[in-house]
Assembly symmetry: D2
Homo-oligomer: 314 residues x 4
């Protein structure tokens, strides 16, 4: 998909508003065909609420973010203590969640999540992203069809023969190409490219600093290599797809920033903070790098992203 | 699946903790096989935040529930007004959602959501459902594999030749059987049964009372008929699967309550408040009632449910 | 206090940023002197959380607003059900509240809450009020000293000899002057003017429409009359100080809008949705209309207001 | 006030439900009389929202707590970007706050906040503290009259001639007595005892570990000494009134735990995380340790506490 600077307005309605429109029916069917055994693996980190026990902080997260909160409105202990059942004796447990998805849990980015200058992807005015929601490119557009696609795992850690990459390691285009080559399975338009660094393995809730400092990730040319292959989605198990420096920040200049290359210039959705350890083992055991990948963001109107529970069907 | 009163502890680990274990690999593959065209339809209502404009109240919801809230932490209008970009010029929009899924949006119920007496489904002690989450049968178990299954639409409104059922209409077992018969497509173990009443069509944000009063839904014998067919999930477009009386409440006695029959006695997950109007047209046009149904709840640890964006792949 | 259109930048630092600076030490001492008996009355509506029981909706509120939510993170029923105490046996209950103060509970408005055109009170640029908080005139400035002042009750309902005003009743300047006259107690600079309509009495949670429709309140000339007397605060028991039309909206034009007159042109803070029924009886019994009025907004940095629990000390 | 173990049920209705009933009219008047100059000082830490900038984490807080969140529903930047004004041209900014007060900001504890065994203060059954709020001793009772009282500063840091106490320093009864003696101003029933350790001075947002580790505070005998003097409230600038060990926890056994002594056995409300640096200077300059102390908790029905903005009127 060419960058919007060359092409604003060229595509059909789907692209313009932020749906995943390289993901048409034939790509969906190709995705379904990539499943063989029917085994389903969740690729999500657990969402734990920030309660008096500090559970939320036990899950990998970026520093300084508001962690998920989960509260019961009524629960079984209440009934045990004497709360009257409903109607003829029904007992109902009810709850609420507060989630700021970026940096706190497995999530998908809307096309309105990041940009440079005054315009979003495809030329939409950035000031339409307002306090009451993004008037352009909100996650509801991605939710309209979701991602039901062929997934291809780029298991960089396995390819290097390590448990996880080092914090300063960067993944270049040549390495992605070599992995694709070695597994004889190229990335096709509409596919979901799933990149494993193994970084969640370094998470230690008693010492979050290591996870939250520098992180491995895609180099600038890898972003361009992926963009040139027109995936519907690039998903990764690190916090930002690209690498981060010691302060947990992206430090590429704007031309090289992988978020900008994929999300903003080419309209490729991103998903971050996936859990890929089980998928890595399963793919290794099976000898095929592709599978059915599904991610179904919530239709939060004007949302900049959504927590998701992506699954791989092997 | 026999009721747990007869069988506590008989099933394997999956069932006991609340995964959808009649949904094994072969059922998943049967689900994938039900997709033909690769067309994906979202079956979710939009999630709109409760802001100064009252958007949240514009979406169908049950009376007296805390509506979803959606807030931007930073947005495009802020940058336009002078907020400094991040790093070399990145502009990032970020947001938070507050959701109490039951009664406010399309969602899936965990097995801990409803029970009678002192025990949850499968004999788990109900007082393990506490303020910091359900220690048994939380939605994270359903999230571990999600629902990737063959879906079968029971389009009751279409079968009756009406836009939507009336508020006092109840759907009996015989009617479900007749629909299955007429469409030559029976419900198999592990399938998702999707029941359409058309009730969301009566929603009028200026007059929420009609939607929020009595609602059509499954009669007690329909709950039993479905349970006997071992579906992985029963999904409906009304607020409670079963019918509701004029105060928006379930009034069946405990033996006949459809939530208890399906969720509590038989461990059949429920999904509610789906948007089935597009699916109804698509299925009618296509002449086949089955499709690939996918719902991927978020792994909220100890959650009583999750907002979901279910999709049908035709 | 002259309107800012004439005087931008004239006042000292206090006024410019939004503290209540006509409320200097001598006005505070005058406030303390107005207390005689030492009896304290809360002037706040209760804050009830929006849980499965719909408690939040049982308290007077404006239509379409996100109601307060209150959740326990851990509670006594949890311990009774077996949750382990902390340390040597401590049991701790912990909770969270979610509050959008305007229109949902007794609250105080920051000077950044309302304006016309491009500028806030005192010429501050309105676009400094951003998603991450108001960079100018946030409620933290009012919180720096709070309101500790002489309060004067304008008990309009009592003056008219009615339980509460009618929905279309407007309170004019002449009526305020007559009340002041009749009670021999004029409003002095720095005082808090407390206006009682009695409107909360019409609240019926089973029929919120009456409260939420047209409401009595101050007429335009009453706003000007008050502004001319330099109060630190104008507080009222209706939803908007001024009257509202049948849709629950303010319909004055900009010149006459009481919020604009007081909050925006003259920097007079407002407090709304007070509970004044007990105060009305107490003042009547006591025969003096003045008392010590205290409201201490939370220092929410950049907040547009704060829930408050104002008290009168008689 | 004798401990409830000796006296359950002895006191009048006020005490039983959790109001501050040693704070009758004469104590309120004594409080008012303690103000001399009319100068008002806020004793609260700022509440900053947890947004993309990490502002919330910049304010002193206990480790592992859900930090305050503050979101704009609509703001000035939105209007500048083109959002239509309301009605004839009104621009309204609106926001929401999410607060878990304990450990995150200046707050007051309800009597239901802490206990040992099965019973709250005054014998109320602890299992009435449920997910939908405390059915006994919620903060709404303290809110009914608030704290309007004579405050007495125990400026321990100043007494020791240090900027702040060390992390392992404990404040004993003898030291409190010596301070009272030296300033010739004893604590009287109904007073608010305000204890300054200076600990907030060690807060460094780039290195929160020091603040969040061991903290100075009251020793067990100081808790008893205070309880014997029947204050309405004990307020402190540390996180827990009592001292904390290196993990930020209370380690006294139950008999000696200061929360239990004050809050649970004697029904003395607590306030924590105050900002007392300005008060310390003002009191030193003035040469009188007493002042009017005011704290007005929000009437959160069934709340375990409330954020507050306490003020001292000198």
């Amino acid at each position: 998909m060419p960058a919007p600077s060359d092409n604003w307005g060229r595509w059909g309605e789907g692209d313009q508003v932020g749906t995943l429109n390289l993901l048409g029916p034939s790509e969906v069917l190709a995705g379904l065909a990539a499943a063989r055994d029917g085994r389903v693996l969740s690729l999500a980190l657990p969402i734990k609420g920030a309660t008096s026990g500090g559970a939320a902080a036990a899950v990998p997260h970026v520093r300084g973010r508001p962690l998920p909160q989960h509260y019961m409105a009524i629960d079984g202990a209440d009934y045990a203590a004497g709360t009257r059942p409903v109607g003829a004796g029904l007992r109902v447990a009810d709850d609420a969640v507060v989630v700021s998805p970026h940096g706190t849990t497995t999530h998908m980015d809307a096309l309105c999540h990041m940009w440079a200058g005054e315009r979003l992807y495809n030329g939409h005015p950035a000031d339409r992203v307002r306090s009451y929601g993004a008037g352009r490119l909100g996650i509801e557009h991605a939710a309209a069809r979701g991602v039901v696609a062929r997934g291809v795992l780029f298991d960089v850690a396995a390819h290097r023969g390590v448990d996880h990459l080092g914090p300063l390691d960067r993944i270049g285009a040549a390495e992605l190409a070599a992995i694709a080559d070695s597994q004889g399975s190229s990335l096709r338009p509409g596919d979901a490219a799933v990149v494993r660094t193994g970084w969640p393995r370094v998470w230690d809730p008693r010492d979050p600093g290591r996870y939250q400092g520098a992180q491995p990730g895609l180099a600038a040319d890898a972003g361009r290599w992926l963009a040139a292959r027109d995936p519907s989605l690039v998903a990764a198990d690190n916090a930002a797809v690209q690498g981060l420096d010691g302060d947990g920040r992206s430090t590429e200049d704007l031309d090289d920033d992988v978020h900008l290359t994929l999300l903003w210039r080419h309209g490729v959705h991103l998903a971050e903070m996936l859990w890929l350890e089980d998928l890595s083992s399963a793919v290794a055991a099976r000898g095929r790098p592709d599978f059915l990948f599904i991610a179904l963001p919530l239709p939060v109107q004007g949302g900049t992203g959504s927590p998701v529970n992506p699954v791989a069907v092997l």
